[in-house]
């Protein structure tokens, strides 16, 4: 009997010692670290704030049960298939600099031991950061960089949820074509010769220079004349020589790819120089930022911008409205193209982790390549998310699509973005021609 008691005591003692040796973290739900690299200072800091708020909101929804949000991610507290593991975001600021971005990615991977990376907004930074991720075999999800070249490199650890600039720019040319065919709501068919002359000005980093190339090739394909195509430095304090150069060819439509401060400066300079194109179209980014609207106010009525999300979407899509309400409560602003896509980027990461059930890179890779998120789960008006696992655009979401919005005034005199394209979901008549 004594022996049995002694044996029992020894077993209990061993169990107690072993129990003390097991770290408490192993008993608690695991934490999943995701490095998020955005431009939190510098010229694109305003966009950085939006991106950060979007990603943070997605993490909050993923980490808590929120019954008032109609998406799978809101039904569980943390990643259900990983014992409720919580998402922890580690934010880093790349300042719009590709070299800094690459250094930060290395630090996140080697020092912080992140399980994946989200970022980076600037295509030029996404390019270097994705190269680092590829080198270390760490999964990277990109929600907001739109240079087409990013998914043409055959990377195995890089997935992009947003449609890229070729799709967006094609939307613009479809709109121009639609104008000539009388398909645009509220505008009678415009003879092509009245809108045939185009001029473009794009900032000269990876993103802008690619947009410029796409405009050149699509103008040719759709039979428009690109009379002037120029690149400029986004940090330039003065754009008057650029505007004079554009004005000199008397374009019917002016097309821009600009970040925030240069988009504001460009429009101010166009107005000061009394430029008079019939259409001004911006390739999202700066043209959609709250600062663009609050700074230029009524002078932007009639300007078009491509986007992936407009507050109007929240009115026609239930889940977008629910998330928008939360976002507005946190930031005071409606979801925009940047924040909605940052949200979607992290949401995709959560779905990938749920499907993989582990943080092993190989499992994540397999899950991402086989992922399919239906459109009803998303705040953005896409058919869903499914990545190309082969072909010449590996890692690109093939179910995305874009919108073209136009700044107009609503009944109360507030500046709003109305959907003009796709034609079947247009929310207002298009203002044509544009004038300052």
């Amino acid at each position: 009997m004594k022996t049995a008691v002694r044996f029992g005591m020894v077993v209990l003692g061993v169990l107690a010692v072993v129990g003390l040796m097991v770290p408490s973290a192993a008993l608690a739900a695991k934490e999943i670290k995701i490095g998020v690299i955005y431009p939190l200072t510098g010229g694109a800091a305003a966009a950085g704030r939006e991106l950060r708020a979007g990603a943070e909101l997605a993490a909050k929804i993923a980490n808590n049960v929120m019954t008032d949000i109609s998406m799978d991610m809101a039904k569980n507290s943390g990643i259900k298939n990983m014992g409720g593991a919580k998402i922890k975001l580690i934010f880093k600021d790349h300042q719009g600099n590709p070299t800094i971005g690459a250094d930060l990615a290395k630090k996140l991977i080697l020092d912080d031991k992140v399980d994946g990376i989200l970022g980076c907004y600037h295509s030029s930074v996404t390019k270097t950061v994705s190269a680092v991720c590829e080198q270390y075999g760490v999964p990277m999800i990109n929600g907001t960089s739109t240079s087409p070249a990013l998914t043409k490199r055959g990377l195995k650890w890089f997935w992009r949820t947003t449609p890229h600039d070729k799709w967006f720019t094609k939307d613009l040319f479809e709109l121009l074509k639609g104008l000539t065919e009388g398909k645009v709501r509220g505008v009678k068919a415009v003879p092509k010769k009245e809108i045939i002359n185009l001029a473009s000005a794009c900032e000269k980093t990876e993103w802008g220079s690619h947009v410029s190339d796409i405009i050149k090739s699509l103008a040719k394909e759709y039979g428009f004349k690109l009379k002037k195509s120029l690149l400029y430095a986004a940090k330039s304090p003065d754009l008057s020589s650029e505007v004079r150069s554009l004005k000199a060819v008397r374009p019917d439509a002016m097309l821009f790819a600009s970040y925030t401060s240069d988009a504001i400066l460009m429009v101010k300079t166009l107005k000061a120089q009394k430029a008079a194109p019939k259409i001004i179209w911006g390739q999202d980014a700066g043209f959609e930022k709250p600062e663009f609207r609050s700074t230029l106010r009524d002078s932007i009525v009639g300007i078009l911008t491509r986007t992936v999300f407009l507050p109007k979407v929240a009115q026609i899509k239930k889940v977008a409205g629910q998330v928008n309400t939360l976002y507005k409560k946190n930031t005071g602003n409606d979801l925009g193209g940047a924040s909605a896509r940052a949200f979607t980027g992290l949401q995709t990461g959560v779905h990938v982790l749920e499907k993989a059930g582990s943080t092993k890179p190989a499992d994540i890779q397999k899950a991402a390549n086989a992922l399919k998120i239906p459109g009803k789960e998303l705040v953005v008006p896409w058919a869903g998310i499914q990545f190309a696992a082969s072909g010449d655009e590996i890692g690109q979401n093939v179910l995305g699509s874009g919108l073209i919005g136009q700044y107009q005034k609503d009944k109360d005199g507030n500046l709003v973005l109305e959907i003009i394209y796709p034609f079947d979901v247009a929310t207002a008549d298009m203002i044509f021609p544009f004038s300052f």
């Binding site: 304090p237 004079r244 000199a248 009394k274 700074t295």
Partner: protein
Amino acid sequence: MDILISSLFAGLLIGMVLALVALGLNIIFGVMEIVNFAHGEFLMVGMYTGLFTAQATGMEPLLTLPVAAVVGFLLGIICYYGFIKFLIRGPMVAQLLGTFGLMLFLRNIALLIFGSEDRALHHGILVDKSFDMGMGVIVPATKLTAAGLSVVAFVAVWLLMNRTKIGKALTATALNAQGARYMGIPTERMNALAWGIGGGSVTIAGALIVNFWSVNPFMGLLFTMIAFAIVALGGFGSVPGAFFAGLVVGLITEIPGIWDFFTYTFNFDWMNNVPMTSLKYMWVYLAYFVIVVVRPRGLFGWKQ
């Protein structure tokens, strides 16, 4: 033809403002032979001063010039007595690195206080207004006024330097500090005054520029480089040289417009494909390089 005329006109207008930017650098170098790398940051301080004074008081932005001048003058004096005075006792390298440090200090202070966002003026009787001068030349009212006031400020500084005892004392200090000291000129005060006048003139330029350009803490370097080019071209220490070189540099920044004129006049397709706008500041630095190599004392500089 209209693009040629409007480009030349715009170049001359902005050249007048850039000349005022460079004037302060020129005076400081002329009197003390010290290169102020923080000059662009002084301009940034002037821009923020003009911006916030106009926004806080609701006054017309152009009326903030005296405030900017006082802030710039005091900043120059404080920098001299608090920092430069000790720096000039060291070797040339220490002076260069010291003003470089001052540049980083002012930039990061601005970043801490104002944040990294671009800020711009959106009110004022001249903001968003332009004059149609005919022949396709449209001039923003802010730039036209800034150019006019730059010329006034320039003339005032020139008169101060050439028609007053203080100006002559500054010139004497510049030419021979030891000799000036023997003649009873308080050279240390003259050095401080040079920093004060240099700071005041560049902050006035800043308060003018903020009427049409946005400001952020990182913008100083571009203007420091442009100011160096102007001072090198005009000649270190020469006030008229700075004005003339400012006009030349202003015209150089408009090379893309002049290029466009030739492109459309001769209808050469290949010219249309040259990315002139993305290289527009390259020509300024090229001019700087050429003048330093070919004529180091500049067009109007003093002979040693």
